[in-house]
């Protein structure tokens, strides 16, 4: 590939960055200018980590507080106590500085209002994520959690901006 076409490719990539979808119970990391997306967070919590010097981002779609919550087979990273340490480790493996990483959170809603059974799982997920981030020494710079609506989030690794989309409130940045 010539230098010019490589430059064009980089430019195209910067203007229309790859969107990497992170599924329920998964984690992923990426570098500028990629965008990490996770869709339809309900009671789950989206944990967006970012190294502002090297523009490395990480995203987790956490479903339950801890591995002790479920004996059923399934994705390892659906639990906050496994997803967050692993995500931080992967970012550090990519070169991120553990002391530079900051976090933004979204999700943790109570999708079904007025029911005693399942309306606290979102709150418990948020509490577990906060605890795990504190243990990992990662400060939370902003969070948009709770409520009773679903959210899709997009982390831009180039800017650290977290885009939050919902049917209830439209699109905004945090």
């Amino acid at each position: 590939m010539s230098e010019a076409s490589a430059l064009l490719r980089d430019l195209a990539q910067a203007l229309d960055p790859t969107h990497l979808i992170v599924g329920v119970g998964e984690i992923a990391c990426a570098r500028e200018p990629e965008v990490l997306v996770t869709q339809a967070l309900g009671s789950c919590v989206g944990v967006a980590l970012w190294d502002p010097r090297l523009y490395i981002g990480g995203l987790a779609h956490v479903m339950l507080p801890a591995a002790s919550c479920s004996a059923a087979a399934g994705k390892r990273h659906r639990f906050a106590d496994l997803a967050i340490p692993d995500l931080v480790e992967r970012m550090v493996d990519m070169g991120a500085g553990p002391r530079r990483i900051v976090a933004k959170l979204a999700g943790g809603a109570s999708m079904f209002r007025g029911e005693s059974g399942i309306d606290t799982i979102g709150d418990r997920n948020v509490a577990a994520v906060r605890y795990q981030l504190e243990r990992a020494g990662v400060p939370i710079v902003v969070e948009e959690t709770g409520g009773s609506h679903a959210r899709t989030i997009e982390l831009s690794t180039g800017t650290g901006i977290l885009l939050v989309r919902s049917y209830t409130y439209g699109i905004h940045e945090i």
Binding site: A40, A72, A73, F112, G114, E115, S148
Partner: protein, 203 residues
């Protein structure tokens, strides 16, 4: 202990049970709205919970969800899901007016769909309860209109529920003029599923 353990014959028995429940629900709904409404269960299948949002075209599709927790011998959840447009058509069907009359899914529409779903789920649970000789009682229903993925995930991350597989009953509401498709998911917890399959002669 999983639904996968069910034989074709037992799946048939559950589908038949679904049809009986649907028949009872149709009678109840016809009484409620004062004109004939029919319901059938054309298909029943076992599927991974993670595949549920794909039925609606992806996790962000706007759907109406009605959820009840199960009480009694079999714990777990039941979830009624319909695309927004189907839920509006269901409202029109209940009012015996042309589809397209209801345009907004506001509090009245939500209450009616919740009521219909609740009757359907209660009738289905009563039919399964009789077949397997277990008590299956629905708790108070709650509803929402939002992304399919978020609704499914909220139900499956319920601490009491660790089901990774659901029994899906495709459900069709119809009268002479209109037909509306919805989905009913039966998600017993592992202990409850064990009880149920044992009574059905699978364990």
């Amino acid at each position: 202990m999983r639904f996968d353990a069910l034989s074709e014959m037992q799946i048939d028995a559950l589908r038949e049970t679904g049809s009986i429940g649907a028949g009872h629900a149709a009678t109840a709904l016809s009484q409620l709205v004062g004109h004939a409404v029919s319901i059938d269960v054309p298909t029943l299948e076992v599927l991974d919970v993670g595949e549920v949002p794909e039925l609606f075209g992806g996790p962000e599709t706007l759907v109406v969800g009605v959820h009840v927790r199960l009480l009694g011998d079999v714990g777990g959840s039941m979830l009624f899901l319909a695309e927004r447009s189907s839920a509006l058509a269901l409202v029109d069907l209940m009012h015996a007016r042309p589809v397209g009359t209801a345009r907004a899914f506001s509090a009245d529409e939500e209450a009616l769909v919740t009521h219909v779903a609740s009757i359907l789920m209660s009738a289905y649970l009563a039919a399964v309860g009789r077949l397997a000789d277990v008590s299956l009682l629905p708790a108070r229903p709650s509803s929402t209109l939002d992304m399919a993925g978020a609704i499914v995930e909220a139900v499956t991350s319920d601490a009491a529920l660790r089901a990774d597989v659901a029994l899906l009953l495709k459900t069709r509401f119809y009268d002479a003029d209109t037909s509306v498709d919805a989905y009913l998911f039966f998600l017993p917890d592992p202990a409850g599923l064990g009880v149920l399959l044992g009574r059905l002669g699978v364990a």
